[in-house]
Subunit: 211 residues, 2 copies
DNA sequence: TAGATTGTTAATCGATTAACAATC
DNA sequence: TAGATTGTTAATCGATTAACAATC
């Protein structure tokens, strides 16, 4: 589809466009110009047009962009049309919270099973999803498939889980453990602590950050 | 402390330095050069030195950086020496998971209370922290203080919670609701969905992302 | 002292913003 | 057609990387 390499900065903006367009559509907005969209999202109109033109010309000169069309295109670019099977390794607090989170469902991410090493958790049922023993991970993935593997375990187990999930055939890894795992498939590191630490920095250096 | 404005890019790297230095110290490493540190963290040596020199000259020519000193300085810059009181609004899955998360404690973030509107949750005790009614938010904060307010509620309630927390005097807001809230204090948006959506993009465009 | 590595200035690179011809 | 707004090229800006004198 795109010819040139799309920069990380553009990729990070795509979900924001997606969310904003969903909102516009929900509000019954049918068309929007790069100028209005930029204003609403606190971006620059040129940037909006540049971003979209990484993937093709979705607009119409003199008119703007049809919200419908644009949303569909971006949904496609983000591969949010199909259903993505998700397995979670680690059925502790984070794993359970993710298994309960409704937000993923509407974007097509469906948690199918959780895995844990703790016998007290194995056999349980969290929000209708079974908790299986970690030893069954490879067998389960081979049999049922899994697009995304989530690491919701503690730091020391993270890399081994990443290795096993990648070997078993997941297409991508979403890592919540506070360590950068390496894998032959795309990995998204979440690093929740980094986020609150940045907040701590910004609070401490508030005057400098003032606009 | 610093004279010029520190860029967002540098700020985002600070927690990574912090984490890495903690690890080095735990491994008994006493000194490190910008070159080795850059290699380990997959950064550039010049970048590492530039980053540190935003805040002062922590190194010694011909020697490198003392891990101890550097860690202490970065801890200071990030304001991770004191204790930060954290209140969580929303005692659902995300709120509960955050209240259980041990990782925050060691960086000095202490959850003191949760708040919810659901009478079935109010009065409970999550990991030793009380769940209070949302009506008590302002009173509680005025009486006990709160440095950071966490929004773990649903989208529609997020902005109002932000307003109330800021008015009651929190110094910063950590927002898990899928909407950008605005406030007169620093805000960190987490946007978990954006993260898994970026992963979806990267999976779909794997060939292009290959290095 | 000689060697190593910083702090800092200069060069490069890439991302953002501006400008404007194309065209609906 | 005239007005509006895109797609795209050019200019600017800022961040990253390289270079090197300072100095431990």
């Amino acid at each position: 589809m795109q010819t040139e390499r799309v920069s990380e900065a553009v990729i990070r903006r795509l979900p924001r466009y997606y969310r904003h367009l969903l909102q516009l559509k929900a509000n019954g907005v049918e068309r929007i110009s790069s100028g209005s969209l930029a204003q609403q999202m606190r971006l620059n109109a040129s940037q909006v047009r540049q971003d979209f033109n990484c993937f093709g010309g979705f607009g119409q000169q003199g008119y703007g962009y049809r919200v419908d069309t644009l949303l569909m295109e971006i949904k496609n670019i983000l591969s949010l049309n199909g259903r993505h099977k998700v397995v979670i390794v680690g059925a502790g607090n984070i794993g359970q919270a993710l298994a309960h989170f409704e937000g993923f469902e509407k974007d097509g991410f469906a948690v199918t099973a959780l895995f844990d090493i703790d016998e007290r958790l194995v056999g349980r049922d969290i929000n209708g999803k079974p908790v299986l023993h970690i030893d069954e991970l490879e067998g389960y993935i081979r049999e049922n498939g899994a697009d995304i593997g989530v690491i919701a375990a503690r730091r020391s187990a993270a890399q081994e889980i990443a290795d096993r999930m990648a070997a078993a055939g997941v297409a991508g890894i979403w890592n919540f453990a506070p360590v950068d795992v390496v894998a032959p498939v795309p990995v998204e590191q979440v690093h929740m602590s980094d986020s609150i630490i940045c907040l701590s920095y910004k609070i401490a250096h508030r005057d400098a950050a003032e606009e």
